[in-house]
Amino acid sequence: MVFLFNDKLSEAFTVMKTESKIAENTPRHPLKDLILEVKNITKEVNSPEGLLTIVKDINLSVERGKPISLVGPSGSGKTTLLAIMAGLDLPTRGSVNLLGSNITSMNEDQRAQIRAQDVGFVFQSFHLMPRLSALDNVMLPLEIAGDPDAIEKSQIALDQVGLSARSKNFATQLSGGEKQRVAIARAIVNKPKILFADEPTGNLDQKSSNAVTDLLFSINELINTTLVLVTHDLLLAEKCEDLYELSDGSLL
């Protein structure tokens, strides 16, 4: 089983490497619509063993409408990189251009502003507010942005993930798969231009996992967003147009 997995992985990487070579060799088309551009990102942290580099010299870019995926072994720095790309964390060196703004030179509240308008998030452990209903959970980003039509838009989003019937239920009353679908509704309710997902199927069984995967990609097209996906699930990763592999903090 493990063997098979590795086999598949390396097969996938061969494909990917060829593709990325093509990408490198072809001069970048000036009209290409880049939604995210990461330049020379390095992240160092202090640890008991001294300065630790967890992400090293990363360069990558994401085109509008083209979902990408990020794979790599546990501890390779995927989450760290995702956080930096989404402006949740700052790199030690390098810059991130998200939706035309250099977010690495912005302050916390300015980055928050961009996240509120154009960025969506889905997490491995869902992170729904247990004391709020599904609908209230979905409404959160709109309420933060002060959208007057929060309720209607949230109901539409819940409908899009197929859970309009459960809108009154509290988060604790939903199954894992349903929670993640509510989380996806929450992520897309503000019509984000870019959607970050960190192992969205990591906590789900196969069946729910498939449902969530299908949902993520159909949503990607439905609301015209760009998915940036961190995952262990190779099947899922392969569905993306671009696939990057991280190892020990560096891109392969």
Partner: protein, 821 residues
């Protein structure tokens, strides 16, 4: 920020019903209930006590003298917008055609009394007058005179040269204790008749009183204006008048303050625990909001709005409860508060809001900072811990704010510094004990997986969390135990003031030749023999400082002196300075009440000159005494040594206890018409009522603190319930059975409870003894029963609520638990 406010407003109800905010709200409600009820109460009690004291004087301020008082003082009083009245009181015979009686004649001006009520009825008992003085030529008399002299309506009596018509019976008048010590019956006449009576000559025993009342400000101005007063005039103010009633009420006010102080401290402790748990839980939400683009201000706005709403609702509820509680207490005290109480002021309202704002922001503001500054990355890392070093500053901030606030609120720096010291010492001690426990348990190697061993291990694993829990348990128990002890001892000391055998009759004017008959009368009718105390009517003439030749009569304002002589110190007296005489001593000695000595500026060794029974003599002051007046046995300001007093003419007095149903006193007065008997039953009953009502009021307030204490314990038990729940679920999942889980939790809470309970008891003894000696003037001896009971109940309570807090997880499937957490 505005958006944050709006969000907080919208989400308030769904948040409010969650457990953490509930505990926070309850702590606020309790703190507000306590502070507002005590403030409602304190305000009203103090005003009513002052009115009551004033009615004992008959005015707010009185100038009294044995000689005529300069009328300029009355004029000054009027100039200061004070109401004024005058009385002149003297002893004289009331003479009828065939009998006469020595009576205290009180002549009054029309405005008498300024405070309290004079109640006069006609001979049929219907009220005719409740203030002022009879018209000239008329007189009101006490029932005693009616009986003795057999007076009918409109009979005429003469006082001195004046014939007066009796047309009223005095049922009650306020300044009963203001005149002659002793129990002469009273007659009230018009002050303008005094010259016609012609009874006052130089050397007569007369008390002149000028009475004043008005606002505190005007009174103070008046006192300023009169400046230095002549030595023979004594100034009395309502505040100086103390009686048992005032004392019990005063002590209960001290207790109320103590209780509300403790309630606030305990409420702050539970608020601290609640806020901590609330913040820990909300860290996820705040971080999530950050991820979805919320600014610092949005989160701040959200949190502040929620806290403000909690403050609003909890304070209003607390004020309601506070008002209800004080109404309950006031109605309990109604029997003993004769005057109508002033309406409550706005002060408690303001205090209530200030208190709750303080409780919330002292405990929550550090967390507000943490929440608003949380990094969104926490969401990706699943890291929602607030580390304890942050908590340390939080608790320090809370502690400092708390004491500044309490300092302003209670304005009793002395009490607060003791409490602060207790807090610091006890916290340090509990911390040390917790630390030692963890090190000790940590060094033991628990090999097998038996339940209680897991529990002990958990204490070690939780580390600082366990220590914090020991501290909170210990502090809550400490304050509860101290208050429980104070409550019990206070109530005991009150009820001790009136033991069952407290005498209820005083008999005066018993002559030497009566004694055998009186004794045999009581032996026959009630099977006891009274003990007699000699009473010598005398006057204090002057005093001479030891070593000086100068006689002085300054400061000796109470020249009328009832004397006695005694071989040994009476039971209800205690020597406070000097020494009691030796029985064989041949020098004439005198022992004086310590307070009288102070007010007359006398010292041990002074020589006092008296006159009694037509002869003059002197005695050396050899001791001062403290007198327990509540004993209701004959007590004297001046006691002579046998060599000084034995040869003087005297009558006897005695105090006896007659059962209330018995009517032997009726036949007694018939058989011994010359002996005066005074029934103290009503006075004793009033004191009994005071004591039981004040005790009940104290119980209510104590109950409130008790609830706050229980809340603090619950808040503390529940503060790490999330973590415990997760642990139990995991233990469950890896196959531990219910018994093991139960055992481990039981062992953990048992150890924490025992240790904090023991520490609390040790420090409770110390703190109680300080409070007793410094603030209540009571002797402290540890009450083993209360200490033992509090300890047992405290440990059992912690144990049971600890078990209950994880009960749900023991009995539900681990899958559900894990899913919900």
């Amino acid at each position: 920020m505005i958006k944050g406010f709006r969000y907080g407003l919208n989400k308030f109800w769904s948040e409010a019903l969650s457990g953490d905010l509930l505990i926070l709200s309850l702590s606020i409600i309790l703190a507000v209930t306590s502070i507002s009820s005590v403030s409602f109460l304190g305000d009203r009690l103090q005003t009513s006590m002052k009115l009551q004291a004033s009615s004992i004087l008959g005015a707010d301020l009185v100038l009294r003298s044995a000689s005529v008082i300069d009328p300029k003082y009355l004029e000054l009083g009027i100039a200061n917008n004070l109401e004024t009245a005058e009385t002149i009181t003297f002893l004289s015979m009331v003479i009828t055609d065939d009998d006469n009686l020595l009576t205290s004649i009180k002549t009054t001006s029309e405005s008498y009394p300024l405070r309290g009520e004079l109640i006069v009825t006609d001979f049929n008992g219907s009220p005719i007058q409740n203030n002022g003085s009879p018209p000239t030529g008329h007189v009101w008399i006490e029932p005693k005179i009616v009986e003795t002299l057999n007076i009918k309506n409109s009979s005429e009596i003469s006082i001195g040269n004046k014939v007066l018509k009796v047309d009223g019976i005095i049922q009650d008048f306020p300044d009963r204790n203001s005149s002659f010590v002793g129990f002469y019956p009273i007659a009230i006449a018009n002050i303008n008749d005094i010259s016609d009576m012609g009874v006052i000559q130089t050397g007569s025993r007369v008390v002149y009183r000028s009475m004043f009342s008005g606002s505190t400000r005007n009174l103070n101005n008046f006192i300023n204006d009169i400046g230095e007063i002549p030595a023979d005039i004594r100034l009395q103010q309502a505040e100086d008048v103390g009686d048992e009633l005032g004392e019990a009420l005063g002590e209960s006010v001290t207790f109320f303050n103590l209780a509300s102080l403790f309630t606030i401290i305990i409420s702050v402790i539970s608020a601290m625990m609640a806020v901590r748990r609330y913040a820990t839980r909300n860290l996820l939400q705040a971080s999530l909001m950050k991820v979805f683009g919320a600014s610092k201000l949005f989160i701040l706005g959200h949190q502040i709005m929620q806290l403000l709403l909690i403050i609003l609702f909890a304070t209003l509820l607390g004020l309601l409860c506070g008002y209800a509680l004080q109404s309950l207490i006031i109605s309990t005290l109604q029997g003993i508060l004769t005057t109508d109480l002033p309406a409550p002021s706005f002060k408690p309202l303001v205090l209530g809001f200030v208190t709750s704002i303080f409780v919330v922001f002292a405990t929550a503001s550090p967390y507000l900072k943490i929440l608003s500054q949380t990094e969104p990355i926490r969401i990706l890392r699943n890291d929602f811990s607030i580390n304890l070093s942050n908590n340390l500053t939080i608790y320090l901030v809370a502690l400092v704010t708390m004491f500044i606030f309490l300092g302003i609120l209670f304005q009793d720096i002395k009490l607060l510094s003791y409490i602060l010291m207790a807090l610091i010492f006890v916290t340090a001690a509990l911390y040390a004990i917790g630390k030692i426990l963890i090190i000790l348990l940590g060094s033991i190697n628990f090999s097998s997986g038996i339940g209680w061993k897991i529990g002990l291990k958990n204490i070690v694993n939780r580390g600082n969390e366990s220590i914090l829990q020991i501290i909170i348990f210990g502090l809550s128990l400490l304050f509860l135990i101290v208050l429980a002890e104070t409550r019990t001892d206070l109530i005991d000391s009150w009820s001790e003031t009136l033991e069952e055998d407290t005498p209820n009759y005083f008999l005066f004017n018993i002559q030497e030749y009566d004694i055998a008959n009186v004794t045999s009368y009581f032996l026959e009718t009630a099977n006891f023999s009274p003990s007699y105390t000699p009473l010598i009517r005398g006057r204090l003439l002057s005093a001479k400082r030891a070593g000086s030749d100068e006689l002085s009569s300054e400061n000796l304002m109470e020249r009328e002196a009832n004397l006695t002589w005694q071989e040994s110190l009476p039971k209800s007296n205690k020597i406070s300075k000097g020494e009691w005489w030796n029985q064989e001593s041949t020098t004439a000695e005198v022992s004086i009440d310590a307070e009288v000595a102070e007010s007359m500026n006398l010292e041990i060794g002074d020589e006092l000159f008296f006159s009694a029974g037509g002869s003059k003599f002197s005695a050396i002051v050899t001791s001062f005494r403290e007198i327990e007046w509540e004993s209701f046995s004959p007590n004297f300001f001046f006691i002579l040594s046998p060599s000084a007093g034995q040869s003087l003419p005297n009558s006897y007095i005695t105090s006896i206890k007659i059962s209330e149903q018995s009517n032997i006193m009726n036949s007694f007065t018939q058989r011994f018409p010359t002996i005066t008997s005074v029934d103290l039953g009503a006075v004793i009953q009033q004191i009994r009522n005071t004591v039981s009502s004040a005790s009940l009021a104290v119980q209510y307030i104590f109950l409130l603190t008790l609830i706050a204490g229980i809340l603090a314990l619950v808040a503390s038990v529940f503060s790490n319930r999330d973590q415990r729940t997760k642990e139990t679920a995991i233990m469950h999942a890896i196959g531990a059975n219910r018994l093991i889980i139960f055992q481990s939790a039981a062992a953990e809470f048992f150890i924490l409870g025992i240790l904090s309970g023991l520490t609390a008891i040790i420090f409770a003894v110390i703190l109680s003894s300080i409070i007793f000696s410094q603030f209540l003037d009571l002797l402290y001896s540890p009450n083993i029963l209360i200490l033992g009971l509090s300890f047992a109940i405290g440990v059992i309570f912690i144990f049971i609520s600890g078990i209950l807090s994880i009960r749900k997880t023991i009995y539900t499937s681990p899958v559900i638990t894990l899913r919900e957490s």
